[in-house]
């Protein structure tokens, strides 16, 4: 476990250094908050909307697709390490595994899950809704 002492030390030191820089800055910097200065940025005007609106659903769709692929990649990492020992069987099995996942990918692609909402290139206006093909 000795190797991990370095990791712990690294994380603690990284946290310590960033924290000390923050503290140093708050000691050195001046403090002169004015209401205008503290307003959220809006090109010099009064802010006319706060960020409480809904985001386009594509962002969530992307996140869901990410789960699919990330699990796939996590499974592939240990495979890659022992690839030489597995030989051809390993290659074939991974081809099957990737093939099944690719079917899911093709499904998502063919059904428009990968289209970004309101693509400018197709001249559609952004409606915040996924396209229904």
């Amino acid at each position: 476990m000795n190797e991990y002492i370095g990791i712990v030390a690294g994380i603690l030191l990284a946290g310590g250094i960033t924290a000390s820089m923050l503290i140093l800055s708050s000691v050195l910097g001046k403090k002169n908050p004015t209401p205008e200065k503290l307003e959220p940025f809006e090109c010099g005007k009064e802010p006319f909307s706060l960020p409480m609106g809904k985001m386009a659903v594509s962002f969530y769709l992307t996140a869901i697709l990410f789960i699919l692929f990330d699990v796939e990649v996590i499974f592939l990492y240990p495979w890659a390490i022992v690839y030489r020992e597995l030989g051809m069987l390993g290659l074939v099995e991974v081809c099957v595994f990737v093939g099944i996942l690719m079917i899911g990918f093709v499904y998502a692609w063919a059904n428009g899950a990968l289209e970004w909402a309101g693509q400018c290139s197709t001249g559609q206006r952004s409606t915040g809704q996924p396209r229904r093909d």
Partner: protein, 379 residues
């Protein structure tokens, strides 16, 4: 060949009797990681200066010229001191805890990721078996920090930037991870030292890209995905100054803003290091081989010298050479990233996502399968 940890050996030599082994390891780690963070901070500051010079020369101007004398070399230091003295504001309505925590998390996780990175054969502090896994995991934490900053700022520009960051990073995490599979298959290890070791031979040119031709497209894919992961142009949509003011850092000022800045350059350097180790030979180069031949005595199993030193008995010089070679490779990667930034215009968010999901991901999978087939045919 195996090399001991230099600092550890040094400390072990001077430590008094009775000091437990773990204490030496701990002191080694603390000294080493402090050195590492220092090196990375200096390189990040140097990269900031480099970026200004590179962009200047690409645009037919000089960039910083005055501070410090020669080509404005001290510009970054001056900027750092200035940013440290600035007033740091927290906008009204912001989530104060998250707002302060976000930049610290962003910078801290990159520094933490560095802990597993060997900078020279004998200059490492956490020789863990999960090396590259740990580095990718820690550097992915920066995304959390960016999303936190966008959420906490109470500004719509910040939130849009953060959401873009989230979408973009999750989309490019996949090709990044898959394209790394190809060299991992050749290396057979997550450990960065062992991966570098696996590329020694052929007079320092047995790089993974030369061992397997399919690693060349994998390296290109890795580079593109790394650009997106580090939010560099043409994938700098989370900042996108022409549409989102400054994206997720719109509301940040002073030292907290500089944390994001530092993180960007540190992340570029880190990604380039990973790419250098897993594609382009790590420490290995003809210079390294020469230095190893000249300065290092190879020890046999019983401790006796198998081969007398070529010229001098100076292993430190070998380590310095190897570290310099790796740093040079990584800095060349950083330079490439800058070159791309000032050459290619920014893409739209839908183009970013299309490229990530529709082109890079399938391409990366195909490349990995081909690389695997090649390896199998060779064995």
């Amino acid at each position: 060949m195996e090399h001991g940890n230099l600092i550890h050996e040094l400390l072990g030599g001077v430590a008094p009797e009775g000091v437990p082994a773990w204490a030496i390891v701990l002191v080694t780690a603390v000294i080493g990681v402090s050195l590492l963070i220092g090196v990375v901070s200096v390189i990040a500051m140097f990269s900031v200066w480099l970026e200004r010079k590179v962009s200047g020369h690409i645009q037919c101007r000089y960039g910083p010229m005055y501070v410090g004398g020669w080509h404005g070399w001290a510009q970054s230091i001056a900027d750092g001191v200035k940013l440290l003295m600035k007033e740091d504001m927290i906008p009204l309505g912001a989530d104060r805890v998250l707002f302060v925590l976000a930049p610290a998390l962003v910078l801290g996780s990159i520094f933490g990721a560095m802990a597993a990175m060997p900078l020279a054969p004998g200059f490492y502090f956490a020789d863990i078996n999960l090396g590259v896994f740990f580095i990718l995991g820690m550097s992915a934490l920066t995304t959390i920090g960016v999303i936190m900053s966008g959420w906490a700022s109470n500004s719509k520009w910040s939130l849009y930037g953060a959401m873009r960051e989230a979408a973009q990073v999750v989309a490019y995490e996949i090709p990044l991870g898959i394209s790394l599979l190809a060299p991992l298959m050749v290396a057979g290890t997550f450990n960065l030292l062992e991966a570098s070791e696996a590329q020694s031979g052929w007079f320092g040119m047995k790089w993974f890209v030369f061992q397997n031709p399919f690693l060349i497209p994998a390296a290109i894919l890795f580079f593109v995905a790394a650009l997106a992961e580090t939010k560099r142009a043409p994938f700098d949509l989370p900042e996108a100054e022409s549409e989102l003011v400054a994206g997720f850092m719109t509301e940040y000022s002073g030292i907290r803003w500089s944390f994001f800045f530092m993180e960007e350059y540190a992340a570029m350097f880190l990604m380039s290091l990973v790419g250098a180790v897993f594609f382009f030979g790590g420490f290995e180069s003809p210079f390294t081989s020469l230095a190893e031949w000249a300065f290092v005595t190879e020890a046999g199993a019983d401790g006796s010298a198998l081969r007398t030193a070529g010229l001098f008995e100076l292993p430190l010089l070998y380590h310095v050479t190897a570290g310099t070679v790796l740093a040079a490779k990584a800095l060349f990667g950083v330079f490439l990233m800058m070159w791309v930034r000032w050459t290619v215009p920014r893409v739209r968010i839908d183009q970013v996502m299309t490229m990530g999901y529709k082109y890079l991901t399938p391409l990366a999978l195909v490349v990995v399968l081909f690389a695997g087939t090649w390896e199998w045919l060779l064995s």
